[in-house]
């Protein structure tokens, strides 16, 4: 039964529709490969192993957050609080690292998870629009951040020699831990989505919540889990960033929610919910990161072009998505 639910949104047959479906799902991947190839040819410094690892490492912080957002968006919701929660996670981790690595890990995950949990409960039980609740969450987390940093510090240092720094600065087989973490996390996320009843319930809720409810699927629980996970992962992203930079910076993450949502939508997840892939979000994040890197490579180009190009790509992709959806007959 669960597999039928997951497969339900697939459109009708026909070659045109099938091509459209592939284009919608893999469009970002095509753009990513094309821009990586173009950048490698255009800039000598782009294709180097060092630069590519740098891109992957920089992308990993965003990717962790995007994974949580993917599930929330697939369930038909949205989480605008992730930027603030990311910053909160980082500051709490840096603060906690004074009391040992365990505190550095647990404090941010618990606090950020709690924020996600409350948001999930208010959305699922109270029936309030996710947009508004997480908007309030954004303000709340930012307020909390200001409250705990009222000694005037905008930056919390991780004590030198703390083992916590290893988490993002160390590596395995020459590849940084954050990249491994992202690979494992997305692997688990993909399995959860495609192979577990939780994943199919998420898709069913996003497809049609009333129907999922009538079928007896645990709508409330699934939504709460999605928002809680999103909060935990946003906090974890901040934690990783704190470990990487050895500091928790309070002003981080402003506007990050938009970047994350862009990445998820670029990756082919429908904002209306009910369809999408976990891997697509990873592609979306990488695409944004490659754009950023290319703009840095150009050097003479004003860094504000990054926002202009990211926004334009988002608009082009959603326009293409709509057009393809029409072709597909949805």
């Amino acid at each position: 039964m669960t597999t039928t639910v997951a497969a339900a949104p697939a459109g009708s047959g026909g070659t045109r529709a099938r091509v459209a479906r592939v284009a919608q799902r893999q469009g970002a991947l095509v753009i990513l490969v094309a821009s990586v190839l173009a950048a490698t040819l255009a800039f000598d410094s782009f294709g180097t192993a060092g630069n590519l690892e740098n891109i992957a490492l920089q992308a990993s912080f965003l990717a962790v957050v995007a994974l949580g957002m993917t599930f929330v968006i697939m369930s038909g919701g949205i989480d605008l609080s992730v930027g603030s929660v990311f910053a909160l996670g980082g500051v709490l981790a840096a603060w906690g690292s004074r009391y040992g690595t365990l505190a550095a890990l647990l404090v941010p995950l618990v606090v950020c998870g709690a924020i996600g949990l409350v948001q999930g409960l208010v959305i699922a039980r109270g029936g309030l629009p996710p947009f508004i609740v997480t908007l309030a969450g954004l303000l709340f987390a930012r307020g909390l951040l200001l409250l705990i940093s009222d000694e005037g510090a905008t930056t919390y240092k991780v004590p030198p020699g703390s083992a916590f720094r290893e988490l993002a600065q160390g590596g395995l087989l020459g590849i940084g831990y954050p990249i491994w973490i992202v690979l494992v996390a997305f692997g688990i996320g993909g399995l959860l989505l495609r192979r577990s009843s939780y994943g199919s319930t998420v898709l069913a809720i996003g497809g049609q919540e009333d129907a999922a409810d009538l079928m007896g699927l645990p709508v409330l629980r699934t939504k709460v889990i999605a928002y809680t996970t999103c909060g935990v992962l946003a906090g974890f992203g901040g934690l990783l960033m704190a470990s990487y930079t050895s500091s928790g910076v309070t002003v981080l993450g402003v506007g990050m929610e938009l970047e994350v949502i862009s990445a998820v939508v670029l990756g082919g997840t429908l904002l209306t919910g009910g369809a999408g892939t976990v891997l697509g979000s990873l592609v979306g994040v990488l695409l944004l990161q490659v754009i950023r890197n290319v703009i840095n490579q150009v050097g003479s180009l004003n860094s504000n072009w990054q926002a202009v190009i990211s926004g334009t790509i988002l608009l082009v992709v959603v326009t293409a998505q709509r057009w393809l959806a029409k072709v597909e007959g949805r």
Binding site: P129, W305, S310, G311, T312, R322
Partner: protein, 330 residues
């Protein structure tokens, strides 16, 4: 729907329930914002020193104008069941254009800045009305790109020394600051549009039920397009007024998070996010209430952090109260 089924037999048994009527929840929903505003005013008169003074009143009115003007445009968009996240970026863009064109004369610079808002609104409207992109995503893309464009044009903070702009920002008509006069005119025109014009009736009909409006032969795309253009024009006007008052434009700061304040003002004022209604007087009261909350906290030296948390709670509470209406009248 199940509620209606469940409540029917009960209402037959007890046709009259006068006790429940006395605290009519719908009345609170409609007029809660005015009650809250009056209450908060009364509290301030009682406990805040120097609150009842010409200077305080003037300052509060001047400070609320940008958000109020943006909120009026936002109310129109929300009335169509849409949302516009790009208003803050449009404000920044308009403010950034002023110093660039001020050499051609004050009027020319203002016209170009306001027109830029119209162009941005036209883009959002086209994406939403013609292509069918979700409003939140279309305006999200414009928000990201627009802030980038504003930064490209504006660069760093620029001061505006033009006498025309200075007069606009700090002059007054019969003792009422120009900016307040302009806000009042905008409010009156918006009210007229919504209540007395064909356009307003069509807008509300589309927000109530787009499909029905389409079938009824209303020019849905044209009305939606016009609505987003109006919202863009008003956001740009707010940016111009802000630049005139501060005699400077800082594209990274102008209009930051204004979309959230505007949405909150609209929702507090009783316009449902589900569309189909526009409450202009409520929106004005909502903006004033938000301003007064912020001012009250500042007057009493309550830190920014607590203010933000308070705002978060207010947003959720306001929407929760609204939600009751949607349930009551499905």
């Amino acid at each position: 729907m199940s509620e209606r089924l469940a409540s029917k037999p009960r209402s037959r048994e007890k046709p009259e329930r006068p006790r429940r009527r006395r605290i009519d929840p719908d009345w609170i929903r409609r007029n809660g914002v005015y009650v809250a505003l009056v209450l908060l005013l009364a509290i301030n008169v009682a406990i805040t020193d120097n609150f009842v003074s010409d200077a305080t009143l003037r300052l509060q009115l001047i400070q609320v104008t940008p958000v109020l003007i943006v909120a009026l445009g936002m109310a129109l968009v929300i009335g169509t069941q849409g949302i516009d996240l790009s208003v803050g970026a449009v404000m920044a863009l308009a403010a950034a254009l002023i110093p660039l064109y001020i050499g051609y004369g004050t009027g020319v610079a203002i016209a170009i800045a306001v027109l830029a808002g119209g162009v941005s609104g036209a883009l959002a409207g086209t994406l939403v009305a013609r292509i069918g992109v979700q409003p939140i995503i279309a305006t999200l893309g414009i928000m990201v790109a627009g802030r980038g464009v504003a930064n490209l044009f504006g660069g760093e903070i620029k001061s505006i020394r033009d006498p025309g702009m200075v007069a606009l920002g700090s002059g007054s008509l019969l003792g009422v600051p120009y900016v307040v006069v302009i806000a009042a005119v905008v409010a009156a025109v918006t009210w007229f549009l919504v209540r007395r014009s064909n356009f307003g009736r069509q807008l509300v009909a589309i927000g109530g039920n787009k499909r029905a409006a389409e079938l009824g032969g209303l020019p849905v795309p044209r009305v939606l397009l016009t609505t987003y253009i109006l919202c863009g024009l008003l956001a740009a006007l707010a940016g111009v007024l802000l630049a005139a008052r501060s005699q400077a434009s800082d594209p990274t700061k102008v209009g930051l998070l204004v979309e959230l304040s505007a949405i909150t003002a609209v929702v507090l004022g009783g316009t449902p996010l589900s569309g189909g209604q526009v409450r202009i007087a409520g929106t004005i009261a909502g903006a004033l209430l938000m301003q007064l909350i912020t001012a009250t906290l500042i007057f009493h030296d309550i830190p920014d952090s607590t203010a933000q948390i308070a705002q978060a709670v207010i947003v959720v509470a306001a929407v929760y109260v609204q939600l009751g209406r949607r349930k009551a009248r499905p």
